[in-house]
Symmetry: C2
DNA sequence: AAAATTACTTGACAAAAGGCAAGAAATTAA
DNA sequence: TTAATTTCTTGCCTTTTGTCAAGTAATTTT
């Protein structure tokens, strides 16, 4: 049974300095999955049980604000780990949804599989920590990037870091992610 | 040499379900330190080598924006772990400063001590992960809380989550943390 | 292909927040 | 305790962004 997990193996090797054979063993624990545009990896009120390496495609996380509006809280591009940290690690029901913006493919493991790897593969501990640290840093950068910046600067910033999103996600996803209204984003685009 | 690390022991036990004896052994690896108001735990351009349990006092992290203004990026209240994740885990020079807002006391370990604990005390791995997850969640909540909310709502939110900060930190720290000008915060306070 | 739905744009006006500058109040240093 | 510095407040005016509503364009469904 030949599976093409090369992208995942490379991702692991780019994340932590371990022997290739180790990376291959870790990658082989992952299972391939596919998502169609609009499909959910996680629905609100469920427990996130997928630690998902996104090989191809775009995804987003979103939740509903007090008025019932969808707020996109994050975008993911290929070659990233996608999961909802609160629900996944604390085993609680998620407020957040994870949805495919385009058709997606990648590889997943469950919470139990992840913990088995933690016990059996010391190299995977470092990988897990590195991913957590990386995502945490990304979140902090987003905080900083949202404050003391105009809507236009925030848009330009997203454009340079995740241009695929700007090109392929509907305007309303982007607007709510940037914390502005659809109208404002539309006007902003005309200006540019 | 009797040291009062009860608060730290309780903090560990509140974070992960481990035997008390384990928590005590972990706590005993930590060293007591004191900071005077205004002292730095970490200065920009240095490598963060303190994983610090803040027992008493208030702290903040800040950096300089492109125009040279101080931007407060986070506040810490007592009974929290304080460190700069990027610099500490990736061993790189920090852009961020960590400073005491009031006199502070607590217990610290170095990066090497932390890794020794990781190797020798499996319970500490869970603790470390739990802290990382907790801080990550806090950061994500802050993201969500800053977007699609008026300055007043953001202020009220900080007031209810960290009222000590509102009472003891200078207005300009709070204003830059909320992403508003000193004037706007001053006017806002008058209104309330 | 027509109808229905969703996505995006635009205009007119309103609200929120910023810029700048002057002065008052509080804190720190001499 | 006086002087110096820092912190906070306030007025006036500008800029940014929001609200609401109408209309066009694009996509999806039937």
């Amino acid at each position: 049974m030949l599976e093409k997990k090369n992208s995942l193996i490379h991702f692991i090797l780019d994340t932590v300095p371990i022997p290739k054979s180790e990376a291959e063993e870790i990658a082989n624990t992952f299972h391939p999955i596919q998502l169609k545009k609009g499909d959910f990896l996680l629905r609100g009120n469920h427990i996130n049980n997928d630690y998902f390496y996104l090989e191809k495609g775009l995804m987003r996380t979103f939740l509903f604000d007090l008025k019932g509006n969808e707020i996109t809280t994050d975008f993911f591009i290929e070659n990233n780990i996608v999961f909802e940290v609160t629900s996944f690690f604390n085993r609680v029901h998620s407020e957040t949804n994870i949805q495919a913006i385009t058709d997606c493919s990648g590889f997943r493991i469950s919470y139990d599989e992840l913990n088995t790897l933690f016990h059996n593969k010391p190299a995977f501990r470092d990988f897990g920590r590195a991913i957590l640290v990386k995502e945490f840093i990304t979140s902090k950068k987003r905080n900083y990037g949202m404050i003391n910046r105009t809507a236009e600067e925030r848009y330009q910033n997203l454009l340079s870091s995740k241009s695929q999103i700007i090109q392929q996600a509907p305007l309303k996803y982007i607007a709510s992610y940037l914390g502005i209204t659809d109208s404002t984003l539309s006007r902003l685009r005309r200006k540019i």
